[in-house]
């Protein structure tokens, strides 16, 4: 056996790529087969469709709808504030309007719009037929759309949340926010975050595993790098807000006092949890936009991006450092001086990677021949606005200044400069730039210039005066102001600016209605971009998947488009007769196997409908209906999963130039394994933030935490958890051993593992119940019971999964040749066992320390 070539990841020899482009004509019927397999939807299929060409457009369309709706709310606010003592909105309505404006912009527009851009563009950019889990993307979209619309409609019934987009307790506790307004926010946002996480899993696995062969990390498009960091940040940051919203909802619904200082809680815990999510959220929004900017700036300047690798490093560094700056939103809360110093320094350090990106863009513009078309204008406008917002951000990172500016309109101006410059302008640039890729007509250049001009003018008119009104002492979130304090002119100008901005958006809508024609032929590479997304493509993406030898393949690889269309690269047809894409290795993008892709079905749509129903019915306290909806959602998900893990008749197929790849794999080479590991990282982050909350509440408690702990049940529970992990490990080994008993033994051991985990959880719960520690009497009781409840949910899912494996075994779907389902369930159960050890150990450890 020969040694693998130097630097190879899988033993694949890159010299194989020299066989491409292949010579000679392709057999007849390949293109027709692709067209039939990836055909356009008809009738109801427009709803059940899963192809990214459709779902991406739907997704982006929904995000822009929420942008317009939140923009209308902004206009209402600016109308109210145009004159002092204005009476357009009542104080209560104004509170709901500003809360919904911030919430919708941040949660329903910004994150979702960039995620949608990823779903739409990434498969084409990476040279894939589609992302690896198209039904997951479609589920995420429908969950987002249904949940988002229901959440927005709460405004029309006076039920919209009114506690500000960050919903600080105690203002949002039941004492000060009775009614279900705050519950809409807590359950609605928690639900929508699940959709964002689902999308992030899809994006990470897609970028790491479905790249065109040869697309090594140094040739990975800059937008894909940005999306990879973005999705990674979602996985780390969003669990924090999921935990925060869960805790506050538990406090509101059941009286568990996490944030109630009178019972040992601390409202600052909310701020820590919220901002651990909330500040990275700004970069989560900004990074994909920066990736898009980096792509567009090189095209409009007609030159490669200057210092591409430094921009990649800047993305990675931003991703990390942004997790160390959350407390700069809390400088006025009385944090220890030394802590404030650390956070202030980290906040300033973030300007280093941001500066690298900005200088790279400026250098690219300076070194190329800039075209001042609509995307180019938006790129330049974004640069200017973002730099202005960044500079005021560095000012706000300085503690003495922040103490003065905190909660004033100066901060409103700063955050709008950052978000509009860092996300909205790049998004509009991206819409004008990539529309010819997805539409048969490009958007109007003439109208586009008007949109840019009005938007740029309106933006500065609206937000520049706010720096002044803020420094003059005008606080945020006030529904009116008194005359005679020199605030009239800045506010009137801001309101006029908002109106000008709105006119720009209106013209853009008109332009979209006139020209945007998706789902058919594309207008082509009108801007002469260098990425794979500009290859001629149909609903099946490109005819064949090219070998990538450059960061700008269309600029550097001669005749690439011609050879791709002629089917002279990988996967020129459909060798399995179904939807499929090529899976490659995560670093070198070496071909590994062929991934059969799902075809449209209604199960993911129903799953989204019932998941939304579960959360929304919970909000209006229709508990029975909510449970029924939840059960139906689980049923739909299980039915959806039933289609998976079915090996094809062809164990191996020729994917081009004689390379035969398997059509079924399991373990770390498979996309399912990656998705499960990332899902478990999300779960692990929720647990990590729960541990942080535990330690935080313990350290802030004025009274010692103690409980008479009997260690014997704890030891027994820990032993059972370890036993559960051991059993599932043995089950996985048993399945792949030769012999007819393997599948039966694997199923039995998996079920046994779930059983042990259930008994462990019950033992632990019973032990705590005997101590008399009630969840509604103290923060200690609340957080201990939260850990137990969280573990309980995971144990329940484990039982469901074990039952699912048993059902598959009954139907003959558990076999040595198809171990993926048992392996993934094994991973999950292994994690639940490990989490159980933390849940058993942590409270006892602290009780021991306390005693």
């Amino acid at each position: 056996m020969s040694a693998p070539p130097e630097g190879s990841e899988t033993g694949f020899d890159p010299a194989f790529y020299d066989r491409f482009p292949t010579k000679g004509r392709r057999p007849k019927g390949e293109v027709e087969a692709l067209e039939e397999i990836w055909c356009a939807p008809k009738g109801w299929q427009w709803i059940t469709v899963i192809n990214n060409n459709y779902v991406g457009v739907y997704y982006l369309g929904a995000a822009m709808l929420f942008f317009v709706l939140a923009g209308v709310l902004a206009l209402l606010m600016r109308t109210q504030l145009a004159l002092p003592l204005n009476g357009v909105l009542s104080q209560e309505t104004y509170n709901q309007v500003f809360t919904m404006h911030g919430t919708v912009m941040m949660f329903l527009f910004a994150v979702q719009a960039v995620e949608a851009l990823g779903v739409l563009l990434l498969p084409q950019m990476l040279g894939a037929r589609d992302l690896p889990f198209p039904r997951l993307s479609a589920y995420a979209f429908w969950a987002y759309l249904i949940g988002g619309l229901a959440f927005f409609c709460s405004l029309f019934f006076g039920l919209a949340p009114d506690g500000g987009w960050f919903m600080y307790p105690p203002l949002t506790s039941t004492t000060y926010s009775p009614g279900i307004n705050a519950d809409f926010w807590l359950l609605g946002i928690g639900f929508i975050e699940i959709s964002a996480i689902a999308g992030a899993i899809e994006i990470i696995v897609g970028i790491l595993k479905t790249r065109a062969p040869g697309m090594t990390l140094d040739k990975l498009p800059i937008f894909a790098w940005a999306m990879l960091v973005f999705a990674g940040m979602i996985i780390i940051a969003f669990p924090s807000v999921i935990l925060a919203t869960t805790l506050l909802e538990l406090e509101r619904a059941l009286g568990w006092p996490f944030f109630d200082a009178t019972r040992g809680g601390d409202p600052l815990l909310w701020q820590h949890l919220f901002w651990f999510f909330g500040h990275p959220e700004v970069y989560i929004i900004f990074l994909p936009a920066a990736g898009a900017m980096s792509t567009m700036v090189s095209t409009v300047s007609r030159t490669p991006l200057v210092a591409h690798w430094m921009v990649v490093l800047a993305f990675l560094a931003t991703g990390f450092i942004s997790f160390g700056v959350w407390a700069h939103h809390m400088f006025t809360t009385g944090l220890p001086g030394a802590s404030i110093g650390v956070f202030s320094a980290a906040s300033m350090a973030v300007s280093l990677p941001a500066g690298v990106q900005v200088f790279s863009w400026i250098a690219t513009v300076a070194s190329g021949k800039m075209r001042f078309n609509t995307p180019g204008l938006f790129v330049l406008g974004s640069l200017l606005i973002f730099v202005m917002g960044g500079l005021t951000g560095v000012m706000a990172a300085m503690v003495p200044f922040d103490w003065q500016a905190h909660d004033t309109y100066f901060i409103v101006a700063h955050l709008h400069y950052v978000l509009i410059g860092g996300m909205v302008f790049p998004l509009f640039a991206a819409i004008y730039y990539w529309t010819p890729m997805v539409s048969s007509r490009a958007l109007s250049e003439r109208l586009g210039r008007w949109v840019f001009g009005l938007m740029f003018t309106g933006m500065h008119l609206a937000f520049l005066p706010m720096h002044l009104s803020g420094l003059m002492g005008m606080p945020r979130r006030v529904w009116t102001y008194a005359p005679g304090r020199d605030l009239e002119w800045p506010n009137l100008i801001s309101s006029l600016g908002a109106a000008v901005f709105a006119v720009a958006v209106l013209i853009w809508i008109i332009d979209m209605v006139r020209s945007f024609r998706p789902f058919g032929a594309s207008a082509g590479n009108v801007f002469d971009g260098g990425g794979l997304e500009w290859l001629p493509s149909e609903l099946y993406s490109t005819r064949s998947i090219p070998v990538v030898r450059s960061l700008y393949p269309l600029w550097d690889q001669k005749n690439l488009a011609r050879d791709v269309v002629a089917g002279r690269y990988f996967l020129p047809g459909a060798p399995t007769g179904g939807r499929e894409t090529l899976v490659t290795s995560p670093v070198n993008a070496e071909p590994q196997h062929l991934l059969p892709m799902p075809t449209p079905s209604g199960w993911h749509v129903w799953a989204a409908v019932f998941t939304a129903g579960f959360f929304l019915l919970l909000t209006v306290q229709a508990y029975t209906a909510s449970v029924v909806s939840g059960v139906l959602a689980i049923g739909c998900v299980m039915r959806w999963c039933w289609f998976l893990d079915h090996p094809l008749p062809q164990a191996k197929v020729d994917v081009g130039a004689g390379l035969e790849l398997p059509t079924y794999v399991s373990g770390p080479s498979s996309t399912g394994w990656w998705a499960m590991v990332i899902t478990l990282i999300v779960a692990g982050m929720v647990m990590a933030m729960s541990v942080f909350s535990y330690i935080f509440l313990w350290s802030r408690s004025s009274q010692a935490w103690s409980a008479p702990i009997d260690f014997a049940p704890g030891l027994a529970a820990a032993g059972l958890c370890a036993g559960g992990v051991g059993l599932v490990w043995l089950g996985n080994r048993a399945l792949v051993r030769p012999g007819q008993w393997g599948p039966r033994l694997a199923t039995l051991l998996t079920v046994g593992s779930a059983l042990l985990l259930s008994i462990a959880w019950w033992l632990d719960m019973a032990a705590w119940r005997t101590t008399g520690l009630a969840p509604d009497l103290s923060a200690q009781g609340a957080i201990v019971h939260t850990l137990l409840a969280w573990q309980g949910v995971f144990v329940a899912i484990s039982v469901l999964m074990a039952a699912y494996v048993a059902l598959r075994w009954l139907f003959g779907h558990v076999a040595a040749g198809r171990p993926a389902t048992v392996q993934l369930v094994g991973l999950f159960l292994g994690y639940v066992g490990a989490q159980g050890l933390v849940v058993v150990g942590l409270p006892r450890l602290f009780a021991t320390v306390a005693s």
Partner: protein
Amino acid sequence: MKFRRGIRAWSALLAGPIIWLAHFAIVYALPSLAAIGAAPVRVLAWIHGLTTLGCLALAATLAVTAWRGLSPALPEQAFEARLGMLGAALAAVAIVWQAAPAWVELAAKGGL
């Protein structure tokens, strides 16, 4: 064996920021420990200093290792080495920057 290349690549790319993150977690925890009186301030100040020096040493080692891997490598490996080197340098700057407030405070109080 099969995953060695992948692990090496991602370690090169992420080691610098991870060192920064570890340092951040420690210097964030120390004031909190001081606030609850978990240990004498003098001891915590020593831990702060030693942690900072240790992380800087790690970042320097990483930068030198990456620099040595630059020249003979394949293009994709050179890319990873360049990122690793500059990432370590960036981490070193951020570490010094976020350690400085504690040193300034200590100096203002007359040192250890």
